[in-house]
């Protein structure tokens, strides 16, 4: 394979770990930033440490799982409607 794109930095397996570590650092920084800049919420609970991080992750996980479960019910081959005439 002389394909230049295969060698792209982003896709090399050995860089996967580095990418994840970099991402983890950014994630940690956004949570720790809360120590320097206290949040001003409206309800109280939205000022808890890491509330947005946890809520964002949990709600996304819930939506992905809900979509997965609904998928068993709703998914059909994409030729499903092709023979309606």
């Amino acid at each position: 394979m002389t394909d230049p794109h295969r060698k792209s930095w982003l896709y090399r397996p050995e860089n996967r770990g580095k990418l994840w570590w970099g991402f983890a650092l950014v994630l940690a920084a956004t949570v720790l930033a809360q120590l320097a800049f206290p949040l001003h919420g409206h309800f109280g609970f939205d000022e808890w440490f890491g509330f947005n991080a946890l809520f964002g992750f949990a709600s996304c996980a819930a939506m992905v799982i809900l979509a997965k479960v609904l998928g068993f019910l709703l998914k059909r081959p994409d030729s499903y409607y092709d023979d309606d005439a």
Binding site: A33, G41, D46, S59, M63, K68, P77
Partner: protein, 557 residues
């Protein structure tokens, strides 16, 4: 007021008429010039009722200007320009003409001072948006266009019945908040909500839009749903039911987009999702919420058009539309990828993009009203937007795996339109006061506080973590997802076919029986028996006897 009032919608209608007949080299001039002239006309108008006429014995107000109406008309004109720029060298001239007439309808609705004028321009949109769907040019587009037209004509009928009810019961055709106290109000609400892609008929949008041409979906994403948003603001501000309808649309859009494989259908579902935010804001109904809904509509039109331009470029250059067949295009289509990512960040309300300064006004309004559940759902939905549109679209199209495709960036006019709207997404994010100055109510809101930035970064980046952590659960499959359109595409179809077959069988049966009777009449005992060769008078007396029995039976019963 007599000094040269140019009705903005009329300019685009004339443009639409001219695009076909003029010589091909002049077409770009009209496609691009008419929207700019319209924009100029929109900004020349003062507030108030500017043009009236007599129609069916009513005085109709063809043009009524106000800051809210001007805001929507402005973005519609900008959209007609940018969409024209994206399309004019690739699209057929009839698509360009239809799109311009469609934009004229949207701008006509924006300035409609009464319900009759609104309805007329509403139907103009329905007709020419159908033509834009048909310009997809495939058998799928033809069928989707028929389903689309049926849905919108049905919505138009409901709207018209409601409007007539209001005219009869109140004697007024003014556009003003309509109370949901009787049937008329509900019918108007339902007619408008059909255009907003509200449940239970949200499916029409994701059914029709992805079947249009690469440029067609760019036009379609802007006008129909956002005129419905404007109509809701004008007619039903603060109706609480809209909060829940909006929230349903938000989560419907996210879940269906997560299941979807067609890149433009993902974006179509996310239109329903984004319009849900606006509908929810209109339901909250405070000045902050209405400002938020209007601002979000403005910002949304730009970034959604940008996303569909990016997807349209990929489709135009590769001919492929399924995420499972795409991937790794960032290297050969860098500009398309960057513009797509900017659109994706804007829809996700990333700081320093347009979505950040508009969507947050709606959740702020929910917080101000202490609607805890609504606020929590809106925040969860913001995270979900990043998930289904912000990351999913760019990831599966431009990164993911190497699909082996090496398309170049699209032609210059498509690139120029994408760059224009990318700049607009960022400019609105960095200088929100430009947009805030155009809103219907004074804005007392500062999006860029340290607290807001930190919480938004946390929310979005951890949504990103969820995406990559749960990526195995989101493996692309060659599937579509059943929706309520199953009812009219399958159940309704079989019911209709069953009825037609049943009627045909009934007809055949009746014919057979009649035929048998005729044969018996012709060949039966009549011919040879006692009753054969009867005189007419004998026949008549038999008939009289039967009649007598029938009449006496009638009197006795």
């Amino acid at each position: 007021m007599l000094e040269l009032l140019l009705p903005p919608a009329l300019i685009l209608v004339l443009g639409a008429f001219l695009i076909g007949p003029v010589r091909a080299p002049l077409r770009p001039l009209i496609v691009l010039g008419a929207p700019l002239l319209t924009l100029y006309a929109i900004w020349q108008m003062e507030d108030g009722i500017l043009l009236t006429a007599q129609f069916l014995g009513y005085e109709i107000q063809l043009i009524e200007a106000s800051p809210l109406r001007r805001l929507f008309a402005t973005i519609f004109a900008i959209m007609a320009f940018a969409g024209g720029l994206f399309a004019f060298r690739q699209a057929k001239w009839w698509e360009l003409a239809a799109a311009q007439a469609y934009a004229a309808g949207a701008i006509g609705v924006s300035f409609a001072g009464d319900l009759i004028t609104m309805f007329l321009f509403w139907e103009l949109m329905a007709i020419f948006s159908t033509v834009v769907v048909w310009c997809g040019g495939t058998e799928g587009a033809r069928r989707a266009g028929i389903r689309y037209a049926t849905m919108h004509l049905l919505g138009g009928v409901l709207l018209k019945i409601g409007i007539e009810g209001v005219m009869i019961h109140t004697g007024s055709i003014e556009i003003q908040p309509i109370p949901l106290t009787n049937f008329d109000g509900w019918l108007i609400l339902i007619g408008v909500l059909i255009n907003a892609a509200a449940p239970p008929v949200s499916a029409w949008l994701a059914d029709a839009y992805p079947e249009s041409s690469p440029s067609g979906s760019v036009f379609l994403s802007a006008f129909t749903t956002k005129t419905a948003v404007l109509a809701l603001i004008l007619l039903f501000p603060g109706e609480q039911i809209l909060i829940w309808i909006g929230l349903y649309m938000i989560f419907y859009g996210i879940i269906y987009a997560l299941l979807e494989n067609d890149m433009r259908r993902i974006l179509a579902y996310s239109i329903v999702n984004q319009v849900g935010f606006m509908v929810c804001g209109i339901g909250i109904g405070t000045e902050m919420a209405i400002n938020g809904a209007a601002a979000h509509a403005f910002a949304h039109i730009i970034y959604k058009a940008l996303l569909l331009m990016s997807a349209g470029s990929v489709l135009y250059m590769t001919g492929r539309r399924k995420c499972s067949e795409l991937g790794g295009l960032v290297h050969s289509m860098p500009l398309t990828a960057i513009c797509g990512i900017i659109g994706a960040l804007a829809i996700s309300a990333f700081p320093y993009t347009s979505g950040f300064v508009t969507k947050s006004m709606i959740s702020q309004a929910a917080a101000d009203q202490h609607f805890t559940t609504v606020w929590l759902l809106l925040v969860a939905a913001s995270a979900g937007v990043f998930l289904h549109a912000g990351i999913k679209f760019p990831w599966f199209v431009f990164f993911q795996k190497d699909s082996g495709l090496r398309p170049k960036d699209p032609p210059w006019n498509m690139r120029a339109a994408m760059v224009l709207f990318s700049v607009a997404c960022i400019a609105l994010g960095v200088f929100p006061q430009w947009l805030y100055g155009l809103l219907p109510y004074p804005v007392d809101y500062e999006p860029y506080t340290a607290s807001h930035l930190v919480s938004q970064f946390q929310l979005l980046l951890f949504s990103g973590l969820a995406f990559f952590a749960l990526l195995p659960l989101m493996k692309r499959t060659l599937t579509l997802s059943l929706d309520t359109d199953w009812l009219w595409r399958v159940a309704g179809f079989h019911l209709g076919r069953g009825m037609v077959n049943g009627l045909a069988r009934l007809r055949a049966g009746i014919l057979q029986v009649a035929d048998g009777l005729w044969r018996q009449l012709a060949n039966g005992p009549w011919r040879h028996g006692a009753l054969a060769y009867q005189s007419t008078s004998r026949m008549l007396s038999w008939a009289l006897l039967v009649l007598l029995i029938l009449v006496s039976a009638k009197f006795l019963l």
